[in-house]
Amino acid sequence: MDISFALTGKGYVLIAADTTAARSIVKMKSDEDKIKVLSPHLLMAFSGEPGDTVQFAEYVERNMRLYHIRHNHELRPPAAASWIRRSLADSIRSRKPYAVNLLLGGYEPRERTPHLYWIDYLGTLATVPFGAHGYGAYFALSLLDRYHDPEATLEEGLATLRRCIDEVSKRLVVSPGKYKVKIVDADGVREVEL
């Protein structure tokens, strides 16, 4: 079961996702990257039905790239979120829907604002200050209610994120061992060590 968290801070969005690829009760891989870089200022964590996840994430990734090439400008976070939501909303009423849940984090350089969107496989889109998918949500959201600060520095944001991961490791029966954390801010996208 995939776990992903995301939170906003002062001028950045942090996204974390576990790195296990499991099939039934077996861990097949422990360094799987479940956070895609969609454009220079856009990150997307994806989880859900294996197969659908990668297929859909790559479909989104290539379309974002196509937009960038055609218009010489990356799609802004709200526009990207709307497009992705619409893709999932159309998909859920199709013969073979994608079962993919997403956390979309972006940064708008011109307005200097971080954006975070919680999107599920039905095409539900919510603008949130922090969000989580999977079993981790049941542990992390209450912690984030208490500790999240939209004006937090990167160090404070990482500390809050660490709290969430530690809590899941402590209380969840089948907790994953490793997480990958990525950040998007004015400088673009990069991976950070916890």
């Binding site: 919680w118 039905l122 539900t124 889109l125 919510a126």
Partner: protein, 208 residues
Amino acid sequence: MSIMELNGGSVIAMVGKDCVAIASDLRLGNQSLGISSNFEKIFAMTDRVYVGLPGLATDVLTLREQFRYRLNMYTIKEEREIEPETFVHLVSSALYERRFGPYFIEPVVAGMQKQPNGSFKPFIAATDLIGCINFAKDFVVAGTASTKLFGVAEGLWEPDLEPEDLFETIAQTMLNSVDRDAFSGWGAVVHVITKDKVIKRTLKGRMD
């Protein structure tokens, strides 16, 4: 697990004296897990026609986009803004188009209807998820707290309330009803519509 109760949320509209009010809660959940406390369900269609869309959250967004499209087409063709009564029929036909695979939304419409003599009359209506219209003279309710809203509104509402009194009535009805419903709440928003202005107020509510 009912799909109408998956995300939670409620809407109510009331008639006053030369005004109407429409209110909703702000919760978006996944069954019992709260996701967002700023998920608005009421949208302005014109300056004096508002629609509330409680139900499945993905369809809230899809229908808002579809109504915006259909409304733009209407405005371009007719070269005038739509009246609330006409808009309800537009909503109804949009929903009935999906009769055997519906959008899981029960819309509530509130607005000021222009009369032939140029004056305005308050108008409210609601439909079910396949577009059966309910025109009401007093108030309409929809969403997961609809049963409670009916009860409280029945007790508090009276005819010919002035805008400020109507605001108080609808706000108290909303806040007290959603406190008895686990799937609605987390704050509320109220729009009071009169012929020349709309007042939007965001209410704090219990966060449990």
